[in-house]
Subunit: 417 residues, 2 copies
């Protein structure tokens, strides 16, 4: 696929985006419900297409984890359909007008939510992203360009074909959903330069992909490098509560970005809390790596190195550090954290307030598990991603994050003097 073809595809998406921006909510909801039915009815096309990817993946020697992410089953297709139906039930942010204020001269100034326009999603492996991302982008009135990994090209193309048919059947432009029909990497670098057609790029995948996209894009990028989440157990915390929160944050699903990676403990709590916490972690086979002070209380554990403080283990491993006070805890988080999610467990009102105020990660919690850092858990509905950079969106991103606001001014003939 040559550069001019990629450009053509993006221009078509831009044209379609103008139409999508003004589609009423009920038509968009019907569309998503029809798309869900189409996926379920299309098993006979989806599973064989996926089988081609699996065979090619085995030949290429993909790891079993990679192959697992790639595989589509009846259950997984049903989950994709559920996601489409769930997005159909979410409130549509487009058109909402807020904050009308009357100026001294009588003009009224408000802000109206509008779609961003064209959103490019660059992702790896999981074919469900094709329909999940399409659902969120279309519901919020955008067009979407999907560029999945080469290993999933047959699956993604088959899903895209089914979904595009439903756009057409609804009398909407099928170009609002573009699956880039090529696996060559140059297509990405070309896409990233089309700032006159594409309004936002969201990369989803490993750190390598995300860095590549950031370095090469002239289009705004919303990204999430990693989640190095901290839990700080304050002096005088309720230890039973702290234990429950820490176990949940580390053990419930260790392989995800909102799992705890470092535990910080106030020095006055260390002697009493660390032994009971270590016993609880031992029951769940969590390996602890501690600072010097931690190892004075828990001499049996491994010493943490400098690398451990910045590590995103995504595994049953936890770095543990004793801090002199909350200042040191906050300093540690700012130095080694990833701006993702941080938790304080405390009974102290003032410490809770200060932690909330001074820790500027995308999600900051008091007395709750970091595992709640998730669009669904937080009431945003399905999420398109998590942003750990501050522009436009910070934290879990829902439908509203795929929109922007324009100003609307209602006058009755006013002119400027």
């Amino acid at each position: 696929m040559c550069n001019s073809e990629i450009r053509q595809l993006a221009l078509e998406a831009k044209k379609a985006a103008r139409v999508m921006a003004n589609v009423p909510q009920d038509i968009k909801n019907n569309l998503l419900n029809r798309m869900a039915e189409a996926l379920e009815a299309g098993m006979a096309e989806l599973l064989p297409a996926n089988e081609k990817d699996i065979i090619a993946g085995r030949e290429k020697g993909l790891s079993s984890a990679m192959l697992d992410r790639l595989v589509l089953s009846e259950k997984r297709v049903a989950d994709m359909a559920s996601c489409l139906r769930e997005v159909a039930t979410l409130p549509d942010p487009v058109g909402e007008i807020t904050g009308f204020k009357i100026r001294p001269n009588g003009i009224r100034v408000g802000r109206m939510r509008i779609p961003l326009g064209v959103i490019g999603i660059i992702y790896e492996s999981r074919p469900n992203v094709t329909s999940d991302a399409a659902a969120l982008c279309l519901k919020s009135g955008n067009a979407v360009i999907l560029r999945g990994g080469s290993e999933a090209i047959h699956s993604n193309t088959a899903i895209g074909t089914l979904l595009k048919k439903e756009l057409q059947a609804a009398g909407l432009p099928s170009e609002a959903l573009q699956v880039v029909p090529t696996t060559d990497r140059e297509a990405i670098s070309e896409l990233l330069k089309l700032e006159d057609c594409i309004d936002l790029i969201i990369p989803r995948g490993g750190e390598g992909l995300i860095r590549y996209v950031t370095q090469n894009s002239t289009i705004p990028v919303i990204k999430h490098y990693k989640g190095v989440c901290h839990t700080y157990v304050d002096a005088g915390a309720d230890f039973a509560m702290a234990e429950d929160i820490c176990i949940n944050a580390k053990v419930q699903r260790p392989g995800v970005c909102n799992a705890m990676e470092t535990l910080l403990v106030h020095q006055d709590a260390a002697a009493a809390f660390l032994p009971r916490m270590a016993a609880a972690f031992a029951q769940h086979n969590v390996e602890l790596r501690g600072c010097e002070q931690t190892r004075r209380v828990l001499p049996q554990i491994k010493a943490a190195t400098e690398e451990d403080w910045g590590a995103e283990y995504l595994d049953l491993i936890l770095a543990v550090k004793v801090v002199a006070n909350m200042d040191e805890a906050i300093e540690h988080i700012q130095t080694y954290g990833s701006d993702h999610t941080e938790v304080i467990v405390t009974r102290d009102y003032f410490n809770a307030q200060r932690f909330l105020r001074e820790v500027n990660s995308s999600v900051v919690m008091v007395n709750a598990s970091s595992r709640f850092s998730d669009g669904n858990q937080m009431g945003l509905g399905a999420e398109i991603g998590i942003s750990t950079t501050k522009l436009h969106s910070f934290g879990p991103m829902g439908l509203e994050d795929l929109t922007t606001r324009k100003f609307v001014i209602l006058g009755e003939g006013q002119i400027r003097t």
Copy 2:
């Protein structure tokens, strides 16, 4: 200045930003008022420094328009002080918490406004930007790195020195305000790569500067290329109102980005409206360039070429086009516009609603002059710039646009099941 020095300066700003993020509102307001006094008291330092720039500019053969923008007078310094004082009176967006919602499990999820961190401003000529931008960035709890044009280096350095002293006097880190003390262009390209230190880049200047910054930055950029603003006069509009609005939009200050550049007239209004409008424009020496249909009514005017439709004249010149209906007006705006500001003059309720909904420029108005597209006029207070791209901010940008929101979650021991 070598790359490592630029990096050092940005690292210092990042460290200072952490302090600034938590400075209470009254201390920030006092600081800005003190800075205003310092500028007024510092005339004896500012004017001679500016004189150096003026002499160098004359030697370099700068145009008289460039020299005019560069010059500092007592009046201009007083205006800079006024701007600092005005920003001190604006409400501080930092810390505001909105939208607390209780989830089924009892956790409360809200969003708190926080500063972006470190903001880089890259600008040309006008030395007042140094103090105006500093005021807005510091008030919103950010640190700021200012890289002005080489032609204003002595003025900017002198302003920076005075303002930094006030930070120090207030017990705040003077590194929160950095004036890049060099005129070499490589300093810009180095700054644009420091994504680990700088959160946002705002270029202010000509299209060349803005394109250079966009192409070379790995940091998010908020930009404004140009303002090609349209006024659409609908069939059945109040012609007296339309005339007032059009004269104001074109003539009141033609050299700015919110002045009207193209007038669109419904074909049913053309025969009656265009002659009276042409007569009114003639009184203000506005040159008209019309489409074929316009010239059937106004044969005396010049024919518009394809270039005229996309032109930002910034002068007493106006392109005029007759359109068959509102569809054609909207299509024309989408094809040739710059997403800045568009106006409809109409009596028709449905056309007003449709124009507001379907024209996705940053400011869309009914029955008012495009000259109101300005942060101050719209009630945002002083503006840091205007964004014509949709990410993060769209339209005039005030203090709130220099902040973002983090999620805050208040729990009482909840864990995820």
